[in-house]
Symmetry: C2
Subunit: 236 residues, 2 copies
């Protein structure tokens, strides 16, 4: 936790005093080992970042005087289109993409996505939000990514995807593609990554017909959690 995300109901006494409890308090005590007078990186969810000075610390409660005056880091100019990963992987992926500064993620269906994945409790809004916030805390960001679920491949790809792709550099990572992933897209990116086992040929064709180029990330098949930073770093 390199930054403590603050919510509106953390504030007591106007906009300059905050009271922490629960998970964040435990982290500050156990990991940061904060004491009265220490300064901590803080940030208002969706707003400015800054510093908080610990003014009071006793059983189950920590108070800080806060100053919020630093804009969050710039968003990554990328939209990520992911075939829904298995729930255990999805948790790590949400944290990781949030930490990288991706602000728009679409979790879509694909032939090789197991149907049961769509029933996973990880997809509940509160749960996703928890992992996304952990990513913000990691990266010292304050702005939550928007994550949308598209459990129907065809309507998403035919009706919605062409609009998302417009005026972006759109690539789908595909191990069989003859073209290696280019370096530095020079404009905003839409990046699609398939499920374990990859998109099936029909799906790749549909993406290509939306304006995606199929590219390979070298001679290796990477897991989604490795492929995402690899692909985004190459393009951006």
């Amino acid at each position: 936790m390199n930054l403590i995300i603050l919510f509106e109901n953390d504030f007591v006494d106007g906009l300059e005093r905050v009271r922490l409890q629960g998970r964040r308090l435990r982290h500050v005590l156990e990991v940061h080992r904060a004491e009265v007078g220490d300064e901590l990186h803080i940030g208002m969810l969706g707003g400015l970042a800054g510093k908080g000075r610990v003014t009071c610390l006793n059983n189950g409660c920590l108070e800080m005087d806060v100053e919020l005056n630093i804009p969050p880091p710039e968003a990554l100019p990328a939209t990520l289109i992911l075939a829904l990963p298995r729930p255990k992987v999805l948790r790590r992926v949400l944290l990781s993409v949030s930490s990288m500064g991706v602000k728009r993620v679409v979790l879509m269906n694909s032939w090789r996505v197991e149907k049961s994945f769509w029933q996973s409790p990880v997809l509940k809004e509160d749960n996703m939000r928890r992992y996304l916030i952990m990513g913000l805390e990691q990266a010292r960001d304050t702005v939550l990514p928007e994550v949308v679920l598209r459990p129907l491949f065809k309507p998403f790809v035919e009706d919605e995807l062409p609009g998302l792709v417009r005026e972006t550099f759109a690539v789908v990572a595909h191990p069989d593609a003859p073209i290696p992933c280019p370096r530095g897209a020079g404009r905003p990116v839409t990046a699609a990554i398939g499920p374990e086992g990859g998109f099936v040929p029909y799906e790749v064709e549909k993406l290509v017909s939306c304006g995606f180029s199929a590219v390979r990330l070298g001679d290796r098949i990477l897991r989604v959690e490795t492929a995402i930073p690899f692909l985004l770093s190459k393009l951006l």
Copy 2:
């Protein structure tokens, strides 16, 4: 498991027939749902890859006729120097770096590495090898990375690191560095990544005195499992 790694004692009847048991057999039956006649991607540990055709399948045993004639993918021209991550993270990191094709990894000490991490059972040779092999299976590679442990910072950095760095493009990822990570090193890379909380200034200075440039990966602090593919992809 996109490729099944074979070991010498899997072979029965010369060099063309293989019998699988245990973890790999279960995977082939449960995930690949292999049947007699199916072809599977296989590779000899440290040697050639190829195809295996299932010839016999019964309780607890699968036999294949194998043909090994494809060289493994090229190694990534990179040496990775990592401050020892916490054990849970290390498992994923070993799998990930092995899948990316890194062939030399040094796990080193740093001020912010908790002493207990060096006692973790994950560091036992057999355990590390297990995660590295999972990375090869993921990436369709056959060549194990070499992983060495350097639990003493100073002797490693003073006596050994200058030799490793020679004739490579050496960078240490450091959130406070003024220089952004360059794109495309154009020659082999030595990449160093610190622990949670980062290398302390003395350590960064020591690395710089060995020939490393301190570079930043954007405005964000990434977790090691995200930072590794991000950094390698940018440089290579």
